[in-house]
């Protein structure tokens, strides 16, 4: 499989490629950490690394806007939410918040199978590539939002509002009771 990847036209001489490898390694490794660590806070921070690595991958895909959005929303928003969740739903005083797992074997088997299938599909399909120069994306994304996907855009905004209200309601209800 690695052979196939190596064959798939990557220039090992290019230093940028090594940087890419570093980011990829960071992503993958921290993802493993997320899945494996016993300490839930560690896995939360491993998730931070994963998000950051993914942002890096976006940069390598010339997707600047999405990369920044990734950092802003995932690290600045979702990760903080998750950390709050961890810290609110566990006793604070014990540092080593337990995070035990169940049926790791079954999970590993299923996950492995999924990975195999996906990898097989990814490597065996011959994608219809078109080589084109990298262009700044944010303008085109804006056009697409305001043009083709306007309705979806508005729907998403409504959804966000609903989520806001719903989350606030869910979080507050406990106090009333």
């Amino acid at each position: 499989m690695i052979l196939t990847l190596a064959a798939a036209g990557s220039s090992w001489a290019d230093p940028a490629f090594w940087v890419f490898l570093a980011f990829a390694a960071m992503t993958v490794g921290s993802a493993v950490l997320v899945a494996a660590t016993r300490n839930i806070v560690y896995s939360a921070y491993a998730l931070l690394l994963t998000f950051f690595g993914v942002a890096g991958l976006y940069v390598f895909l010339d997707a600047d806007f999405i990369a920044a959005a990734q950092v802003l929303v995932y690290i600045g928003g979702i990760l903080v939410l998750i950390l709050f969740g961890v810290m609110l739903t566990n006793r604070i005083h014990d540092i080593h918040l337990s995070n035990e797992t169940t049926h790791p074997v079954t999970g590993a088997i299923i996950a492995g199978a999924v990975f195999l299938v996906l990898a097989y599909v990814a490597l065996r399909t011959d994608w219809e590539l078109d080589p084109r120069p990298a262009v700044p994306t944010s303008q085109e994304i804006g056009k697409a939002f305001m043009g083709k996907y306007l309705l979806a855009f508005e729907a998403a905004s409504v959804l966000l509002l609903a989520a806001l209200i719903g989350a606030a309601y869910l979080a507050r209800r406990g106090e009333k009771e």
């Binding site: 990847l5 899945a35 010339d62 869910l170 979080a171």
Partner: protein, 129 residues
């Protein structure tokens, strides 16, 4: 110029993230870590979207960049953006949904924590047949 790494690299990384996410969801007991697994899965999907948007030739059904329309006051056009932008737009939507989902999920988890004093998803089995 194309990115330094080929499409397969990104797809493989995404697949691995997906697998990790599935594993996390399946094996963790703590609801918050299950949420983390979900985030991993979403991220892998995002990587795929953006990677395809960068590498693969956009389908013809994505339409033209812009469609001119007649107007009394000057010419105008419906802007659709570049065809490949659709991938990025979908990725952005996924991010939006992820934000909403995380907020609501945290709310629910807090509710569970309040009501049953713990966040072990295996205890939360009211749907048991």
């Amino acid at each position: 110029m194309m990115p330094v790494a080929s499409l397969e690299w990104f797809l493989m990384i995404a697949a691995f993230l997906f697998a990790c996410g599935i594993y996390t969801i399946l094996t963790r007991k703590n609801a918050v870590s299950v949420l983390m697994g979900v985030e991993l899965v979403l991220n892998s999907a995002n990587i795929n979207l953006v990677a395809f948007a960068r590498f693969v030739k956009p389908a013809a059904s994505l339409g033209p960049q812009s469609v001119p329309i007649p107007m009394e006051s000057g010419a105008a056009a419906v802007i659709y953006g570049a065809p490949w932008a659709s991938g990025h737009v979908f990725a952005a939507f996924v991010i939006i949904l992820a934000a909403a989902e995380a907020a609501v999920a945290l709310g629910i988890i807090l509710g569970i924590y309040r009501s049953m004093g713990g966040v072990d998803v295996d205890e939360v089995s009211a749907l048991k047949g």
